[in-house]
């Protein structure tokens, strides 16, 4: 137990050191997560467009003519 508290206190610099490391973890994982979220969103939207395109190709031009 004492070993853990000793480690965490980091010779009384613990507050500075752990804040620095947590901040770094937060910024780096934030960058990674937002990047992955955007990729997933873009992929989903692209698939949507491609299924629409495929279905209009299959049903030919009839459907187009009936559109308002």
């Amino acid at each position: 137990m004492e070993q853990i508290t000793n480690f965490l206190s980091m010779g009384n610099y613990g507050a500075y050191i752990w804040t620095a490391y947590l901040l770094t973890a937060a910024v780096m994982s934030g960058l990674l997560v937002t990047t992955l979220q955007r990729l997933r969103k873009n992929k989903a939207e692209l698939e949507e467009f491609q299924t629409i395109q495929n279905s209009t190709k299959q049903s030919g031009h009839k459907e187009e003519a009936t559109r308002p």
Binding site: G11, M28, T35
Partner: protein
């Protein structure tokens, strides 16, 4: 030049990216784990700074990345303006938020190290001020990229800013030699070799590699995302054209 243009083809680029990405991601995790372990367990406290020296293992790699990513953006901008390389603009656009993140970290962790060592969160000396300017250059680059309705114009304006702003990079590097400062002078990238003890140099270098690999991973995913976005723009335009 031929190698340079081989990867200009977005499809070839995507194929290569998908092959490389799992390996680079694995290496990132490994080097980050090894670097963190060494930073906390195998490296000794500093004889002057005590345990607070452990902030160095994230502060210095962040600062390296802040300059490295900006240099990459400046090179990509030159490629974009002169050779109109189709991936150069995407690489610059995808890099800017990552660089801004690392610059913020260099400033924030530096501040957290400065308070116990210098007795001040911030001093207006040349090193700190020039890095703050670098942070604003990143923000300006990101703002310009999105400032125009035509993406082309935004790319061009941002590329010009990146190239002009590159003067700041040597100023940051040599600021600790040219002006009086509390900041330590270079102890790794010196003409006469590193002056830092190997027990501290190794974790520092491994963390530096880990951060660089992390940049490559996030950059590749962002470029992938940008390529899809370009396709989406085409589709959206087609829908609008049809509606008229």
């Amino acid at each position: 030049m031929s190698v340079f243009h081989r990867f200009a083809n977005p499809n070839r680029f995507l194929k290569l990216t998908n092959q490389v990405l799992p390996w680079v991601s694995g290496l990132t995790v490994l080097s980050l784990a090894a670097g963190l372990y060494m930073s906390f367990f195998t490296s000794p406290p500093d004889y002057q700074q005590g345990e607070s020296v452990r902030i160095m293992y994230i502060h210095v790699p962040s600062a390296w990345m802040a300059m490295f990513v900006y240099t990459s953006i400046a090179i990509a901008s030159v490629c974009s303006l002169i050779w109109r390389h189709p991936l150069a603009d995407l690489a610059a656009k995808a890099s800017a938020p990552i660089g801004a993140g690392f610059t913020f970290l260099a400033l924030a962790t530096g501040s957290l190290w400065g308070k116990p060592m210098w007795g001040a969160w911030w001093v207006w000396d040349a090193r700190l001020t020039s890095v703050l300017i670098l942070f604003f250059l990143y923000l300006g680059h990101m703002a310009l990229m999105h400032a125009f309705e035509e993406q082309e114009r935004g790319n061009k304006a941002a590329a010009v800013l990146a190239i002009v702003g590159f003067v700041n990079i040597p100023i940051i590097k040599f600021s600790v030699d040219w002006w009086n400062t509390l900041h330590q002078p270079a102890s790794v990238m010196r003409a006469d070799g590193p002056s830092i003890d190997p027990s501290m140099l190794w974790p520092l270098l491994i963390m530096g590699v880990a951060f660089k690999l992390f940049y490559i991973v996030v950059l590749l995913i962002r470029i992938k995302s940008e390529l899809i976005e370009a396709k989406l723009r085409k589709y959206r335009r087609a829908v609008v054209d049809k509606a008229h």
